[in-house]
Symmetry: C2
Subunit: 277 residues, 2 copies
């Protein structure tokens, strides 16, 4: 039983991760897989400025070695659950002849009216992001810290118009936030914080670090749209343990645009991981 | 966002159903599979006397025909969600090369202190059940009505010491309730309500209808332990749309016992579906 603070409402997020699609059990440590399965849900809660309360875990385990595997998965995810003080409120553990499937549902609480949505961005807002982008496949996609603490602090102290976590790619997820808000965005490419891993990946695959920053999935950072006066304050105060960087602005005209130097903005095609049915 | 009534707490249940284990996609209608996936969760909520509030649905769909399949699954489960006025509060839809996996998490609300548990049965309590038992494989295991309305009505009007839903078999689940309560139970076999389907199955497989009633899984009826004065009232009043039947009593000595006619109770081995890791 999960008690919520008085007058708070529940929000729920769920993610299913499958061997061969979201991870390779042959090549990845099960503890990291377990941790990530919970972390992606916490990132979803962070995007709503919801305080995580509990989670339930369902597993379809391969018959051979399933018990050992379950223990390792739990080891990884319990560490994260403890870090964020979340109750593991149950689950459903199964065996089958198929590959490993992990389904986690996390419950959070919000004060109604105070939760963040994708749809609140307004023309004139500035776009801020936490952390840096690109190359997460080199490690961050497993070991990222969901921006829960950051979201709760920001939600308490500042007025945030719209928010989203970056799971599929900075430019793609920003374009979704814009679509939900009925507006567009102009990015100042020179201001985008590019992760070291993106440069490392550039050396390996020849694709530019900027392309990785704009299109790689699983950074699990936050995109925020705030009034420009709030952006000023946030960038000056830097109230988080991770950098907050201004990367562009929300505009009336729909679509994604890039600005580099002087001259009018050029159209920018959103890139990232498109889920296909 | 799921708003709860003032001062209520969240309870969460989750169930994962897999093709080849919990159903055979080749042989079963996807609408019935979808309905059942939600219904088993509602049955879990009923066992806690929790009011269902919402559910989230994660799917791993086979690549071929996945979209059509998803629509059919939703068709079945939306019917049930509407019947019980539950919000489908999100989900995660995926494709892969593996078999269909459905993971549903349902959220319910309870007034803290008023929720039912398995652990509250006391020596001297009478054991009541809703409905009838056995042979659910002939159809009820798909088409059962989760006893949500019944549970909420009983919880409001009567003091129920312990409760459980029968998913793995009447005798097995009763033995679990007893174990959780630190007591035992004596069943009056002649009073057990045997489903017509159990007799039909007896004709087919030669195993007695009584054996089916005691050991078949997926009846999704409720077992209740109540003070004997409450049992009297309930059996006389029959406040539900399904029959409430007294089938035995809770005793101090642990274990499961059967009584038929005069003489001391005989030990009864719990039978049912044992989950294996």
């Amino acid at each position: 039983m999960l008690a919520l603070a008085k007058d708070n409402a529940c929000v729920v997020t769920t993610d299913m991760l499958m061997d061969g699609v979201d991870f390779q059990l042959d090549h990845n440590d099960a503890r990291r897989i377990g941790r990530k399965s919970l972390a992606v849900n916490l990132s979803d809660l962070a995007a709503m400025a919801a305080r995580p309360v509990g989670a339930v875990i369902s597993l379809a385990l391969p018959r051979s070695g399933g018990e050992e595997l379950a223990l390792q998965l739990y080891e990884g995810l319990i560490l994260l659950a403890d870090e964020f003080d979340i109750a593991i409120a149950g689950g459903d553990t199964n065996s089958w002849d198929g590959p490993l499937v992990i389904s986690i549902t996390a419950i959070g609480e919000v004060t109604p009216g105070k939760e963040w949505r994708r749809s609140g961005a307004k023309a004139g807002d500035e776009i801020l992001v936490t952390g840096s982008f690109g190359g997460s496949i080199l490690g961050k996609h497993f070991d990222f810290t969901p921006r829960v603490r950051e979201a709760l602090l920001l939600a308490e102290r500042y007025e945030i118009h719209a928010a989203m976590d970056v799971s599929d790619g900075l430019s793609l997820d920003l374009s979704r936030l814009c679509e939900a808000s009925g507006c567009g965005a102009v990015l100042n490419l020179s201001q985008i914080p590019i992760a070291l891993a993106a440069y490392e990946l550039e050396l390996r695959d020849g694709q530019s670090a900027m392309d990785h920053a704009l299109g790689d999935g699983e950074d699990f950072e936050l995109i925020l749209a705030v009034a420009s006066v709030v952006a000023e304050k946030l960038v000056a105060a830097q109230p988080l343990d991770v950098p907050l960087t201004r990367i562009g602005r929300i505009v009336k005209e729909s679509g994604l645009w890039q600005q580099s130097g002087v001259g009018p903005p050029q159209s920018l095609a959103p890139r990232g991981y498109e889920h296909q049915l």
